[in-house]
């Protein structure tokens, strides 16, 4: 097996990327290169409900207000009112008589998703341009706009995932149906 792997490496590096290499079920190629979790510190952006994956740093809504005005309000409005159903961040009530407006405050089951999504995908015109510190601040501001945290409440890896979301119990896991 080791000989086979070395052979693969040696032969394919020599400018023959089109070569057809045959392996059997018993001799599946194994070309993954070993890495460590530590090496993924910059690469891995997953912030989990458990708190795993949240970076160092912290922020408050107070600190996030200016960044939100400058970087987010174009689409989301200064107070999270948005410019469409797709960009509104506040309001709504899942029990309303009319079709409920589904927002971070009314619909999202996990606070961790707010941080995770801002860090990986926002602002839409320049994703991943906020620092971790700024991401905590903006996430805190979005949670504050929804009345879920105080203006001066410090959001960090410990506190943010613990923020209780109003619709946390509103989902039914159907993953057993595959």
């Amino acid at each position: 097996m080791y000989t086979f792997r070395r052979m693969l490496k040696a032969s394919t590096l020599a400018a023959c990327s089109a070569a057809v290499l045959v392996s059997t079920a018993q001799e599946q190629v194994k070309l993954g290169q070993a890495i460590t979790e530590v090496s993924l510190a910059e690469f891995n952006l997953i912030a989990e409900p458990s708190g795993t994956g949240f970076p160092a740093g912290s922020g408050t809504a107070q600190q996030g207000r200016t960044i939100f005005e400058n970087r987010c309000a174009l689409c989301h409005g200064s107070n999270g009112e948005g410019n469409s159903d797709a960009t509104v961040l506040v309001g709504g009530n899942m029990q309303s008589a009319e079709t409920p407006l589904r927002t971070v405050g009314s619909y999202w089951p996990y606070a961790s998703t707010v941080f995770d999504f801002i860090r990986r995908a926002m602002p839409a015109n320049a994703p991943k341009s906020l620092t971790d510190e700024e991401t905590y601040q903006v996430a805190a501001y979005v949670l504050y706009l929804n009345g879920l945290v105080a203006e001066d409440e410090i959001m960090n890896a410990q506190t943010l995932p613990q923020v209780r979301m109003p619709n946390a119990e509103g989902f039914i896991d159907r993953s057993h149906i595959q």
Binding site: F43, M94, W108
Partner: protein, 430 residues
């Protein structure tokens, strides 16, 4: 059944299989159909096309020679149809396959539907990495060139956005076409490495239950997938219909979860984290969750339901002569293969079995057809599929009764195309 029987009382037709003109599917194999066809433009009722048997100009002069990359006929310029995206967020949005103009079961790569969340990244495969980490014995990173050396499998699968056909739940849309209403489904041969091979290479730890898949687009879009699926038939797809996966489909590599809602088949795949629990990404909480009338919301609704659709005649087309037409369409199911497709011409009161023209592969489109004699009377054409698990495609009323109208995802309902006395075909609700 011959053309000489045109005008005969259809209720006396020996090959009638259902009311309002549906004939035995055997008719398609045994007799030529009326030549009228379907017209998108003005009606030609009463006109006979002129037949010109002179040698045409293109037979009298040599044409251009070979080319490095093929192109379409100037007379067959099919296109995807894009919706209206958010102008502040141009990378979002979707485009739809021109279902009413396609035949067979394979969607050409240039016409495969698209749905992007932050546009199409311009990836140089030499700089692209696939990382597998989390609850594994050995975290690994794979290069594109190395992945090309693995044994691969090739499978034909449909891909459908779970938002496909969602507009039917609103009602309205009389001007809808097969493309605009249902064009978020396509089908291709996908070639790649079983994901189980790569996960086993990293070595799963006992607590592993889910994987989180993340793309290399600007949204770094992520979805959580149960490990059971990932180890069953999920692919790391590198080729689509024989060529490297197109950029808008995830070049250089995408996850492909056969039969599941399209969003889970994460494009531009760059990270797989093996985990104990789902990660609760934005696109599995805020989006792609199905809110019911009681305001609870179904989460992780993965398989796509059994479904079919008549693609011709369909919305915005026109039947032009009282004649026999080939009613044709597509059917598919995330639960297996298609076993049966029935067609109705009277809004679902009577049904006749359609001919399945194609292979009946698991989780792939099939093509069906049935001959239909239009006698000039109003008709409502519907199709209804049954899959290998025994699931039968539901009516729109049944879908709404079960899941209400707040939800816009996972609508497999029967499509009704109304044909009026002028032969105009429109989206109707019956």
């Amino acid at each position: 059944m011959t053309k000489s029987s045109k005008g005969q009382n259809i209720e006396l037709d020996p090959e009638r299989v259902a009311a309002n003109g549906l004939l035995s599917r055997r008719h398609l194999l045994s007799a030529a159909l009326g030549g009228a066809g379907l017209a998108m433009a003005r009606p030609v009722i009463g006109q006979e096309p002129g037949i010109n048997l002179e040698i045409p100009a293109w037979s009298k002069a040599p044409g251009p020679g070979t080319s490095p990359y093929g192109s379409r006929s100037a007379h067959a310029q099919l296109e995807r149809q894009s919706g209206f995206g958010n102008p502040l967020y141009p990378g979002g949005g979707a485009s739809r396959s021109p279902l009413q103009h396609l035949q067979g079961t394979i969607t050409p790569n240039s016409l495969h539907f698209e749905r992007h969340h932050a546009g199409i990244p311009a990836i140089d495969p030499a700089g692209h990495k696939l990382v597998i980490h989390g609850l594994v014995r050995q975290p690994l990173v794979f290069d594109y060139e190395d992945l090309l050396k693995y044994q691969m499998v090739s499978k034909t699968y449909f891909l459908e956005c779970s938002g496909n056909s969602g507009a039917l739940l609103y009602g309205g849309n009389p001007d809808g076409t097969a493309q605009s209403l249902h064009g978020l489904v396509s089908c291709a041969e996908w070639t790649g490495i079983p994901l189980s091979v790569l996960l086993e290479e990293a070595g799963l730890l006992p607590d592993a239950r889910w994987i989180a898949a993340v793309g290399a687009d600007a949204a770094s879009m992520g979805r959580s997938i149960p490990l059971g699926k990932a180890m069953d038939d999920s692919l790391l797809a590198l080729f689509q219909n024989g060529e490297p996966v197109r950029p808008e489909q995830g070049y250089p590599m995408r996850l492909f979860n056969p039969g599941w809602e399209g969003n889970t088949s994460v494009k531009w795949l760059t990270q797989i984290k093996v985990t104990r629990n789902p990660l609760q990404f934005r696109d599995e909480t805020s989006k792609y969750t199905d809110t019911l009338p009681d305001r609870t919301s179904l989460q992780f609704t993965f398989p796509m339901d059994v479904k079919s659709l008549i693609t011709s005649p369909s919305g915005q087309m026109r039947v032009t002569q009282r004649d026999i037409y080939r009613v044709t369409g597509i059917a598919w199911s995330g639960a297996g293969s298609i076993r049966r497709v029935e067609v109705s011409a009277d809004g679902g009161q009577t049904w006749g079995d359609a001919l399945i023209e194609s292979q009946q592969l698991d989780k792939a489109l099939v093509r069906f057809s049935i001959p239909w004699r239009w006698n000039g009377a109003p008709a409502v054409l519907q199709s209804r599929a049954t899959d290998s698990a025994g699931n039968v495609q539901p009516t729109r009323d049944a879908v709404i009764a079960a899941k209400g109208t707040i939800n816009r995802y996972h609508n497999p309902c029967i499509q009704s195309w109304g044909v009026n006395t002028a032969g105009e075909v429109t989206n109707v609700y019956v």
